[in-house]
Symmetry: C2
Subunit: 137 residues, 2 copies
DNA sequence: CTGAATCCCTGCCGATACTG
DNA sequence: CAGTATCGGCAGGGATTCAG
């Protein structure tokens, strides 16, 4: 057993940023939340976790997502180092979006978010509640 | 090795909600993000991960957080099943805020958020980069 | 096909003042 | 001590239109 700064489960690392007194952009938690920030963001990432996608692939997969928000999100994710944008020469213009290595590392993060939410709100037909939290299936 | 729905690391569970096409409140990821939603929320949770706190304890720990937002956040977290509010009889009024069991389970979630953010943006004086991602210390 | 520009409306959050 | 009431500024995001 390793010792802990306080007697509580799952403490945060002993980093100066673990003691900040306001939500600064330096805090690693804020960095991640900034990358995931905004509506639709996690769904775009989920699509890209399944493989590369073109702009219209994403539009087709998320029909209610408007062009403005989609390009906003993609720009935000590129900026955050989550997504890579690859334009191919020729006509018509073809662009592929893919996760960077950092982007793939968001998989476990989304998994953690999923797990907590799945436990908190039971799927609740009442019958088959055991499979929803299975890690991979 | 368990098999996977797609050949990518850290797939999501095979749940119908993993295929939603819009950000619905049913999605476990959305549930968790809703619990964490808004400025200051994670910092309030961090304080409570360190132990029970009174209202003024929280105000003292987060001096730039206004009364309005603090009570908003606490109400939000109570509503989300993360925080429990305990009033003690007598005068002056004494109230203690504590995490519920569900609230404590947010520890690993915040840890996952921390880890990704810590990797993505190096602390980078260049020297001591190995301890920042240590799980507990 | 892949976006960018604009408009407008809503909801967040910060500051201040007040109450049981 | 532990909050609520109110107001104003600003950013987020949806619909539509235009461009390379």
């Amino acid at each position: 057993m390793t010792h802990r700064t306080v007697g509580h489960p799952a403490g945060l690392p002993d980093d100066p940023r673990a003691h900040v007194t306001a939500p600064t952009p330096d805090c690693p938690v804020e960095i991640t939340l900034a990358a995931l920030h905004g509506r639709w963001t996690t769904l775009v990432i989920r699509e890209l976790l399944r493989g590369d996608r073109s702009y219209s692939d994403l539009r087709a997969a998320l029909p209610r997502l408007s062009d403005k928000v989609l390009s906003d999100r993609l720009a935000q994710l590129v900026e955050a180092g989550v997504v890579e944008r690859n334009r191919r020469p020729g006509w018509p213009p073809r662009v592929r979006y893919a996760l960077t290595p950092n982007g793939h590392r968001l998989g476990p993060v989304l998994q953690a978010l999923w797990d907590w939410g799945a436990r908190t709100s039971p799927p609740d037909t009442g019958a088959e509640s055991s499979r929803a939290t299975d890690p991979v299936h």
